[in-house]
């Protein structure tokens, strides 16, 4: 009787621990973007990106507050928020997708894995399908997720006045670097 009770308790505990560790998250992820135009290079970084990865289903989600991007030049930051991404009207960008090769990632074993990600990216109120690759470095039960990909700002209905066309590139390089830890629920 006692033996059975111990076995059942152990099973319940194991199940609850593994359930709790299905999801990984961060609220301090980093996303930066780089515009390399003939005259000028513009870079901005957001250090408070929220992300969740469900290791069981492969679902992945990011949320980025547009006003959280920090620029070096004051005027660029102002133009970015007021004229280009209109962050008062569209405060948040979001990515919702899945890791299509999730079964190839062993979340319980340290190592570096390639992740193929597919989903929908919403910027400036426009949603587009996006497919990219990234790296999941699993270390001590945490994930360091990195990815670099390009987006075209014209795809997201962001208009760049012709007067600054030489300063702002239509192709923006996005770099993602998120350290995700187990979500204890």
């Amino acid at each position: 009787m006692l033996k059975n009770l111990i076995v059942v308790t152990a099973l319940v505990l194991t199940a609850s621990v593994s359930f709790a560790q299905d999801k990984f998250y961060t609220k301090t992820g980093k996303i930066s973007f780089l515009s390399q135009a003939p005259i000028e290079e513009i870079e901005a970084k957001n250090k408070t990106v929220t992300a969740v990865v469900d290791s069981k289903t492969g679902a992945i989600q990011f949320a980025v507050q547009m006003k959280g991007f920090e620029f070096e030049k004051q005027l660029m930051q102002q133009h970015f928020n007021e004229n280009y991404v209109e962050s008062d009207k569209y405060p948040k960008s979001e990515f919702k997708g899945t890791i299509t090769n999730n079964s190839a990632i062993n979340y319980k074993k340290d190592g570096t894995y390639n992740a193929k990600v597919k989903g929908q990216l919403t910027i400036h109120g426009v949603t587009k399908d996006v497919e990219t690759t990234g790296t999941f470095k699993i270390n001590g039960g945490k994930i360091d997720a990195t990815s670099t990909f390009n987006v075209l700002i014209s795809d997201y209905n962001i208009k760049i006045p012709s007067i600054v066309k030489e300063k702002v590139s239509n192709t923006i390089k996005i770099t993602v670097d998120c350290n995700l830890e187990p979500l204890k629920s």
């Binding site: 609220k27 408070t48 004051q74 948040k92 350290n179």
Partner: protein, 148 residues
């Protein structure tokens, strides 16, 4: 007379150009030791957004905020999380590029005072993965507030 007009014209162009160039080159200000527009605790800030999001957005977003709270996590790459243990709702603070070393002044579990610009609020929807993360209020361009 013509000459004076010409010199005046050139001067106006030169001063205007110089001014525009200066404006263009101006760096984003370091707000950490500026006078804050709002002084509040992390808990009060979270409560304000949960109670009336629209009003809180108007009151806090884009404002220089001095926020105090329990340091829950420190990300040495430039972010700090304030909040109470046992609650998923948190204030996340992105440090200004000139204040990245401020993390050295912080200790997990102790109370800290940080100052930055309130840059957003988020709360996941029902079926959404982010829903389990509670309310999140974000600050950018921040740093640890020096005691005077």
């Amino acid at each position: 007379m013509k000459r004076i007009i010409l010199i005046g014209f050139v001067l106006v162009i030169a001063i205007g150009g110089w001014y525009a160039y200066k404006m263009y080159q101006q760096k984003t200000p370091d707000v950490v030791n500026q006078h804050p527009e709002v002084v509040i605790s992390a808990k009060e800030l979270l409560d304000a957004f949960d109670k009336d999001t629209a009003a809180a957005r108007k009151q806090y977003i884009d404002k220089i905020i001095e926020v105090s709270g329990n340091v829950k996590r420190i990300d040495t790459t430039g972010s700090v999380v304030l909040g109470e243990d046992g609650s998923a709702s948190e204030v996340t603070v992105g440090l200004d590029r000139r204040h990245l070393k401020d993390v050295e002044k912080l200790k997990t579990g102790s109370v800290a005072v940080l100052q930055g610009v309130c840059s957003g609020y988020d709360k996941g929807n029902g079926d959404d993965l982010l829903a389990s993360l509670g309310t999140t209020i974000e600050l950018r361009s921040a740093g640890v507030k020096e005691k005077k």
